[in-house]
């Protein structure tokens, strides 16, 4: 019993925390700050569990408990004042956030197909509601619907793929079922990859991403982009590492095309955007192309590279979307690139966080993105995907271009008269979170060994 509690402590914390926040609302008078505080407490516990190095927790659960804990804490910090100012703070917001994190954790460390599906759907259902959290905002409602309908479709594809794999192998365990040879397994696996690829917004099933990110409140978009992507990528890595050689031979060329397409579509798509959130959405699509490339090389060091990159990516998007939220004063978010002109001088700290996030997304030194690219492309080269890596680097140049566009707006153009520079106070927690994200990006860029060492230690130095 106690071993079970130790092993599933993070899951229990998140589940209980979510319930508790929802139950609190039944009490007569709860101070407004009580929900985020409680949620933050329960979001922090999995991280502490991971740091303590528990017996019986799987390495991947350990890593993801830590990562999701950071993501959830940062999201709560960014969301608290943001939601309060815009009048959609409440028990459901934080309860759903914790439950969504629980789903992501389940998705990340699932060894069983059913668990994977349950985790995926739990995470997504809560996210649908979170995206639509601002009831008076049509864009948010539309975004939630645009995420929900294709999401349901993707789930159906995923479940059908699982059924095929089960039919071919007679096992619901991921490792065992994928070891079964035969075309049916490969077909099922292809469908599963499509389903997971949807959540990861891999091209060509990425089309929902820009609309949803644009409509979602900025901190929720940060959570969606960092958390759900990280968890879905964990599932992808897991599946890719268990694939049988013959299925690999069949599917890998398709994955290579998908990775190249994703990098190209993401980076090229971002160039034409006039909306910052859409730009960041396309950029996150491109980043997932790099992750897919690492996943293809998962047995040649790509796994560790992808985990590092996911952690770095989570910091980047939390920093970028968090800064977008902190730079906004409107009902929605400051979205037009033109509205960012000259903000670098008016709000140097918040704009600075956005700049660091963008620099990291573009892979400029000395940020985590630079080291992350080094690892991911290194893994791809050592696995022999030379052409794909070269293609990826060329698309990365385009990635530099749109990051510069936004940086140039922040620092090189001044037209504050047309777009007032007023912003809401981010609150101490939000400011702290932004500072930590920016420091983390530079810190991981300069001293990546800490995280790399931790990842290597978790996975037995492999």
């Amino acid at each position: 019993m106690s071993a079970f509690v130790v092993a599933y402590f993070p899951h229990l914390c998140l589940a209980f925390g979510g319930l508790l926040v929802l139950c609190l609302s039944m009490a007569r008078s709860v101070p407004a700050g009580f929900y985020p505080a409680t949620a933050a407490l329960f979001a922090a516990l999995p991280g502490l569990w991971a740091v303590a190095g528990p017996q019986g927790g799987s390495p991947i659960a350990c890593f993801y408990a830590g990562l999701l804990s950071v993501i959830a804490l940062a999201t709560i910090a960014l969301l608290a004042r943001y939601a309060e100012r815009r009048g959609f703070a409440g028990d459901a917001l934080y309860g759903l956030l914790l439950w969504s994190a629980l789903g992501m954790l389940l998705l990340a460390d699932a060894d069983d197909w059913i668990m994977l599906a349950v985790g995926l759907e739990l995470a997504s259902l809560c996210l649908y509601a979170l995206i639509a959290a601002r009831l008076d905002d049509n864009l948010g409602t539309e975004a939630a619907l645009k995420y929900f309908l294709p999401g349901a479709m993707a789930l159906a594809v995923l479940l059908f793929g699982m059924a095929l794999i089960y039919a071919a192998s007679g096992s619901m365990e991921i490792a065992a079922s994928l070891a079964a040879p035969g075309p049916l397994t490969a077909a099922g696996l292809a469908l599963v990859l499509v389903g997971v690829g949807f959540k990861l917004s891999l091209a060509p099933v990425h089309l929902w991403t820009p609309d949803v990110y644009q409509g979602a409140p900025a901190p929720v978009a940060a959570f969606l982009s960092s958390g759900s992507k990280a968890a879905a990528a964990a599932a992808l890595l897991h599946v890719c590492s268990e694939v049988s050689p013959e299925a690999r031979e069949l599917l890998w060329p398709a994955l290579a095309v998908g990775a190249g397409l994703t990098m190209a579509v993401g980076n090229l798509g971002a160039v034409a955007q006039a909306s910052v959130k859409r730009l960041l959405a396309y950029s996150s699509i491109a980043q997932m192309g790099y992750i897919l490339m690492a996943a293809m090389a998962v047995n040649d060091g790509g796994g560790e590279a992808a985990l590092f990159y996911l952690a770095a990516f989570a910091l980047m998007d939390l920093a970028a979307f968090g800064a977008v939220g902190a730079l906004s004063a409107q009902i929605g978010d400051r979205d037009d690139i033109a509205a960012y002109r000259g903000l670098g001088y008016v709000h140097p700290w918040r704009a600075g966080v956005l700049a660091i996030g963008l620099a990291s997304l573009a892979g400029l030194p000395p940020t985590a993105g630079f080291v992350g690219k080094f690892l991911v492309f290194g893994a791809a080269l050592s696995a022999g995907y030379v052409g794909l890596a070269a293609f990826g680097i060329i698309t990365a140049v385009v990635g530099v271009f749109y990051a510069l566009r936004l940086l140039a707006a922040l620092y090189m153009r001044e037209s504050l008269i047309a777009h007032p520079a007023a912003v809401y106070a981010a609150g101490p927690a939000g400011t702290l979170a932004l500072g930590v994200m920016a420091a983390g990006l530079v810190g991981l860029g300069l001293f990546p060994q800490t995280l790399l060492g931790a990842i290597a230690a978790l996975f037995g130095g492999a």
């Binding site: 001088y345 620099a359 892979g363 400029l364 030194p365 000395p366 630079f370 080291v371 690219k373 080094f374 492309f377 290194g378 080269l381 050592s382 030379v386 890596a389 070269a390 680097i393 060329i394 990365a396 140049v397 530099v400 271009f401 510069l404 566009r405 140039a408 620092y411 090189m412 153009r413 990546p448 060994q449 790399l452 060492g453 290597a456």
Partner: protein, 493 residues
């Protein structure tokens, strides 16, 4: 004396100073004073290290080495030998000149302006000192960031487009080189001592021929863009023209030199076979650049743009010398690069001064400046003559060495180089004529050099004359490292 982290101090002192700048942002005079002091400190530090180095306190090489990312064999390793020392001192000197040259561009946001110059000094010093290829690649990419902001925020005209163009050109090359660096790491993973990015270890790596050629191409593309070699030079004239004076100084004096230095230090010893294979192509491109730049320079209507094209020509000649396989020409290339940094530094500061005084640098409002401002005219003529490689001035020694060296290995190339140098005289004489002589075409008064400009130009002039008359010490410093590189690339030399 050894225990102090001298090299880290050289690299990070300007960055630390840059981080202090925001505290002074309200007071432009304080910003300038602090920036000059910081640059003086850097120069003093470099001079001290040069003195200690010359006295033999450090042995042939000063090294700093620490584990950085052990799982990939990446080390924070810096080394300073004679070759790096030349460029490190040059960087500190140009850094000081940048501070002295900035009196008009920094009116808005002086703290940011000087902070960016200091930050770019850090990245350039890092390139000259890094001996771990990953660390080198990091500094290589990082050097774009401060210069991008320097041009984009403080430039003139269509500064935003120019800054983007500069960054994208450089980043394209930089990222391809980055991929090649990763590939080197992957190749070294199979070597006996595991994954490794130390330059020394990588030169001993056994790289398959075709892989080596691809990697060399990626490295050289990146360096060629920075140098800049025709046909990837397109970013340079725009960037030079629109950049603030200090930006032009950094571009011509430092960034272009990082390209040449990296070619000698990294590309040649890492891939000797590919260097032989690509040498004819690089020579042709370098010499074509020499003629092309001269032809285009004659047609320019803007002083700064003309000087920018002259950079392309001089650096093209240097590249032809570097890959020629002549040890003499290799030494000449190093000297020519240093000389070019000093002369173009002088010319760009004077061009900047013209722009500040007249509000434009177009030839059609210039002329007759010698009569209006004799000191200015003398300084301008001096820099033009140094650029034209008049005997006794720095350019002469470098160009003479290159030509003698080339004659021994390739008479045709040497003949073309001489012809190309003659072609540069055309636009340089036109520059002197149209700026200094003839009737003045503008009624705006033209004040002569002030004390600050005089100090700046004297600093450069001392360097130019010293290199022209006593190049021995500089050549002696570079001799040992260049011998080692030449012995590796052209063993029979």
């Amino acid at each position: 004396m050894r225990q102090l982290p001298w090299l880290s101090l050289i690299i990070f002192w300007p960055l630390v100073a840059a981080c202090v700048m925001p505290a002074l942002r309200g007071d432009a005079a304080a910003c300038r004073r602090f920036a000059v002091l910081a640059a003086l400190g850097e120069l003093a530090l470099c001079a001290l290290i040069a003195g200690l180095f010359a006295a033999g306190s450090f042995g042939p090489e000063l090294v700093e080495d620490a584990a950085w990312i052990p799982s990939f064999g990446i080390r924070y390793s810096l080394s300073l030998d004679g070759l790096s020392l030349i460029f490190v001192v040059l960087t500190a000197l140009i850094g000081l000149c940048c501070m002295l040259a900035s009196r008009h561009d920094d009116r808005e946001r002086p703290a940011l302006y000087h902070g960016l110059i200091l930050a770019s000094l850090t990245t350039v010093q890092g390139i000259f000192l890094a001996s771990d290829v990953f660390l080198f690649a990091l500094f290589w990419e990082a050097q774009l960031i401060p210069v991008f902001f320097l041009i984009g925020v403080f430039g003139h005209g269509d500064k935003l487009r120019v800054a983007m163009k500069f960054f994208l050109f450089s980043a394209t090359g930089g990222l391809l080189m980055f991929l090649a660096v990763i590939a080197l790491g992957v190749l070294s993973a199979n070597a006996p001592d595991g994954p490794n990015f130390a330059l020394e270890a990588l030169t001993r790596l056994d790289i398959p021929q075709n892989v080596g050629r691809w990697l060399f191409a990626a490295f050289v593309l990146s360096f060629a863009i920075k140098i800049p070699l025709v046909p990837v030079h397109m970013w340079l004239p725009d960037a030079h023209t629109e950049a603030p004076t200090a930006g032009s100084l950094i571009l011509a004096g430092l960034l272009l030199k990082t390209g040449g230095y990296a070619l000698i230090r990294f590309a040649l010893p890492l891939f000797p076979e590919a260097a032989h294979a690509f040498a004819p192509a690089l020579t042709v491109l370098g010499l074509v650049g020499l003629f092309y730049a001269s032809a285009v320079a004659v047609a320019q209507e803007d002083v700064k743009r003309l000087i920018a094209y002259s950079s392309i020509g001089h650096m093209g000649l240097a590249v032809a010398a570097m890959v020629s396989g002549s040890r003499l020409a290799l030494g000449g290339a190093v000297l020519l690069m240093v000389s070019h940094a000093l002369t173009s530094g002088g010319l760009f500061s004077l061009a900047g001064a013209i722009g500040e005084r007249l509000g434009s640098r177009r030839f059609d409002i210039l002329g007759g400046i010698w009569n209006k401002a004799p000191h200015f005219g003398a300084a301008f003529l001096f820099c033009v003559l140094a650029s034209a490689a008049l005997p006794g001035l720095s350019g002469f020694v470098g160009e003479a060495m290159i030509v003698f060296g080339l004659f021994k290995v390739n008479v045709l190339a040497a003949g073309l180089a001489v012809a190309g140098m003659a072609a540069t005289l055309v636009y340089l004489l036109r520059l002197a004529r149209d700026v200094l002589y003839g009737p003045p075409r503008s009624a705006v008064p033209f004040p002569d050099l002030d004390a600050r400009e005089a100090v700046l130009l004297s600093l450069l002039a001392v360097g130019i004359v010293w290199l022209g008359l006593f190049p021995g010490p500089v050549l002696g410093l570079a001799a040992e490292p260049l011998n080692a590189i030449a012995a590796r690339v052209w063993p029979g030399l």
